[in-house]
Amino acid sequence: MAVFEHFQNLYDIRLKPRLLRSLIRDRVPDEKHPFSKPSELSIVVSAVKNHGLLSESSREAVDPKHMENWKSSIDAWIERLLLLVSSKMPDKCWAGICLLGLTCQECSSDRFLASYSVWFQKLLAQIQPPSDSHFVKVASCASLADLFTRLSGFSNIKKDVTSHAGKLIQPVLKLLTDDSSGAVWEGAVDLLCSIINFFPSSVHRHYESVEAAIVSKIMSGKCDSNISKKFVHCLALLPRSKGDEDSWSLMLQKILISINVDLNDAFQGLEEAETKSNEVIKHLVPPGKEPPPPLGGNKMQGETSNQATEMSEQLILHRISMLMLCCCRMLTNPYPAQVIVPVRPLLVLVGRVLMVDGSLSQSLLPFLTVMQREFICSELPLLHLCGLDLLTGIIKRVRSQLLPHAADVVRLLTEYFRRCALPALRVKVYSILRILLISMGVGMAQYLAQEVVSNALVDLDSIAHGCGEASSTPCSKAASEGLLLPSYRKRKHGTITGFSEEQQGGVGTEMEAVKGKPITPIAVQTAALQALEALLTVGGALRSECWRQNVDLLLITVATNASNGGWANEEKDIFLLSDEPTSTRTDFQLAALRALLASLLSPARVRPPYLSQGLELFRRGKQETGTKVAEFCAHALLALEVLMHPRALPLVNFPSGDHPDFGQGFNCKFPKNIFSSGLKNNSPFPRGILGKDEIEPESNDDELYSSWLGNDEETEASASIPDKHLESRQELSEKDGRLSTEDHQAEKHPSDLPAGAQFPKEGDRGATDAAHMETGGIKDSIMAQSERVQEIIPNNDVRLQDKDVMVPTGDLTANVVEPNKGKIESSGSDSSKATPALSSEINNKVLMAAADANALPSDQGSLLTTSIVIEKGKKLVLEYNSDASKDSFPDIVDGEPDSD
């Protein structure tokens, strides 16, 4: 030790034995000197951990002499520890045990394997009777748990270790039953959990006694909630020690029956206990089968029945919530065997709990005292929370197999949601809705949309209208209208004015509750935003028209208001945080931004109305360096970039003669396309900056999106727009004023109509989309855009209205097809022959009809192949021209060919 050795730096291997020796000398207690400062130990631990003093390994090759030196120093360390563990002084013994636990984690594998059984014996002795210090017992439990955790990494000695672990079960159970200290219970149950986790078969023989011991602890209600939860966790793990299907099912069955019995006691007079309970039992135990033994074995049964008389409500409710937690854990923990989850009884049980709201059952005479009822009511929220947790567990476990039960779950949830008013519960319900939406997809979204939206609107109302003093009358009026959901229109106007005022009003408008309305806690608002985000993520496109507009507006308003007070300081939040996870302002802002992004990205038919406001928000948020908000905003900007420049990228550059043609098409299109392509070329951004023209001729990929829904020929984009104006003139003559500028265009094109309006439905929409995309593409030249926006707005209105117009056309197109089929079938010839014949026949008609449409660059071939479609288009146009056109197909109105 006295030898002075050089070492180069911090990382030198020669440093480690020196450090270790000085730790042993100065910090680790020994037999002779009293051990006065236990805090020294934490210094030892951190030194050992930081420097890896026990690892006996080095990244580069080292002189064996140095290694030998290190090894001997570790030998000395372990010798000292073993000495300490056998010490009579409890504090020194305790120190030795703790450091031995640390050694189990840190030492090299070889050393660990060589000596773990010695250490095990030493530690085992410490949890057995002669030692009586709690500290020592707890520390030995922890060290033993670490020993087994480390051992779980070595699969080759599993048998040996299992037998070691088996020896441990009895002493641990003894700790549980004999000892009275919570800390010892905790240590023991932790140890038991790690053994069940890693060496399940060692518990197999003691299964019943372990179950009995744990259940009695849970049922007694003597330990605090934290330790109770550990017991519950252990009970949920226990079936794994057998690892077969039966023990898992049996355990769950026993627990459910036990909960059911307790619920009967707890809900006396609040529900029709008999029927509900019978329902659960009926599903759990098929008629004719023996009910399983009670939870915890028969001995427990005797005890509980004795206690039942004096059992307080408090205890019953505690037991119910703990057992429900246990069910939840059993469902969410992975299990090695295939098991059958009794979904139906679980759902019935959850429903039973959630449906009790403290009101007296009508058919029963009230024989509850007011005190009892008061107590039940005070504890119900906790019980409901457990019920919701259990529901979450069920959903997580059965995944896609929830499908047959999904409708029940949704009905239960929506009914509960309507009544549920407590913040914590609402947060939970929102989170379940979120899980359901994400896991079950769009089908679920259709079911839940209305519920989520209407609840979220209520919960976010105070923020959406949080105008405070800055608000003038329309705003608060809108707020008061907020609760009356169906009044969409009024509400919309109200919020729009409120919103714009807010924009002007600036920073001073903090969230303040509008007078007379309760303030919704921030956690609920966050949860509501997250649920909306999930809804938009999975179901933004399908049948969302009725709520989409409202939600988009709500989200931009909330996000703007949330950021108005400045971005929250995360560090501050951290310091303010108490132990329990609370929802902070940062979370809220993040949730608002996430929901906004979802609203912008969720598929829509027009450009998201609040795109530029949203972008502005994200740009601002990105400047908050080093915060989560900034991270998310950067991500959002990236995601939105694709919205700006949609791409449909080819796998390869398709070789073929298409491209020159296309280029020509583009060039010759230019003078014609007064509206859309003129706009395109005015803007320097997409083409000039990106310079795609030079690089790849198929740069039209950028615009593919715009043409996606529309038609294919270049001219149609241009033709269909006047076409639309034409329609709008016909259908909405009152809007003519604004459109008059385009009249001359519209008049120029009527001759194109038959060919141009191949898909009036699509062409229409596609063109509008195209227009939107174009304006989106040149966002930088906003000034030029303003008048176009005006043009687009009436188009939007047209769209809404022309749905009515379109409905008959759908039928019509279907009908148009039918005669073709009839012909084919009647002619009895091969369909492949019939179709061209037919199409050429139609083709002739079309050519006649479109005789003066020479401007079209389409050749015969393309006309031929799309002729049926053109036919449809023509019929459609006919319909516009004369209402009687529909009457010309009187025989084929019935669209179902084989209706018998």
Partner: protein, 445 residues
Amino acid sequence: MEVVIASSPVDAGIGCWDLHSGAEQLRYRSCTSTPHGLACVGQRFLASSQLRDSSSSSGSILYWSWSKPQVEVKSFPAEPIHPLVSNSDGMYIIGGGSSGAIYFWEVASGRLLKRWHAHYRAVTCLFLSDDESLLVSGAEDGCIRVWSLFMVFDDIGMEMAKNPYEYSFSEHTLRVTDMVSGYGGCNAIIVSASEDRTCKVWSLSRGKLLRSIDFPSIIEAVALDPGEHVFYAGARDGKIYIASINAETTSSNSYGKHIIGTLSDNSKGVTCLAFSKDGILLVSGSEDGTIRVWDAKTHNIVRIYRLAKGPVNNVLVVRRPLYSNRQTSENSHSSFSRRHAPLLPPPLGKYVNSTDENVDSGAVSVPQTPSSDIMDAPYLSYHVLTKQISELQQQSSAATGMEVDRLNLDCKRSVEIVQKWKEMFAYLHKFCVDELLGNDQTQTQ
């Protein structure tokens, strides 16, 4: 391991080849599959609906496990089943019957959960949307319907709804031969092919026809490029046409509008198509009994497998779990595979069992290996140590207990020492006294 599996309407078994090495794996025997009647259920086993002679009224669905060539489970549904699909985790099998009914089975229990009348004529193809909440079915009469599975199971909602389906498309005039859906959940597109020589592109979110493309021949199979730039249409004339989905193309070539190229090697008609997971290799089955693997980038054939003399009518590219790849001769391994590849589920039920309420309460959950637990298992002793140290410093009751113990022991030891000292003192005292007295005595003597 990514494998190509293929089956044929003549009894040539189900062929299975490693997509990348080309090596043929096990051939599963006695399968005469219907078109679209081959499915890999949750990567666990293969299922195929069988062609039956017209005399038999019931259908037949067979299961093969990965490791055995023989049929392991036979089920006989109430009527012949044509197309067969399974959801991605293999919990459900959905089949379309020749009467137009759709059957919905739970795989693990074999129960027929639902049967509903979907079409007037036989169902020809089925697929599930991205999020597996929508089912799309095509029928012989050209009708395509979109079902919300959720709605199908909601009896109450079903009564209130106007139509049991979400959409019904009737633009195809003849039998629907194949359908494929793109990416994007409810906003996806569907491409359908029909004997009326068209392929149609539909929007799922809006329930509308987006594009209709005419082909020179009947299209039997479609496959969608993963980037959804184009789709591939396998035709009866032996060509695979490449048609653009959304690009504006003028037709300069001889095939027709929107068709921008072909893959062709002058073979017989193409009957089925499938994309590999990397989105580059396209697998096609042909009427001449061969399966070709194309490189979609270069348009070259990469590989040809031979299944049978007769036509191929199903190809799938699936990921096969690795364990079944190894030989089961080793003792240790066979136990391993037995544990991880549970026995095949029971046969599928014939009728919906509505009377027996108690049976339908379970959901089978697949075994999960708690392997991740070992990785993130925390070591306890450090936390216990820090907690105990802080307890010691705060002089809590447990800590004082230990302190008292320590003091007691100290005290005992001190008492012992005192005792020793006392003895020694007494001895010395005695000694001294004795000495003194002895001296006195000697002096007095």
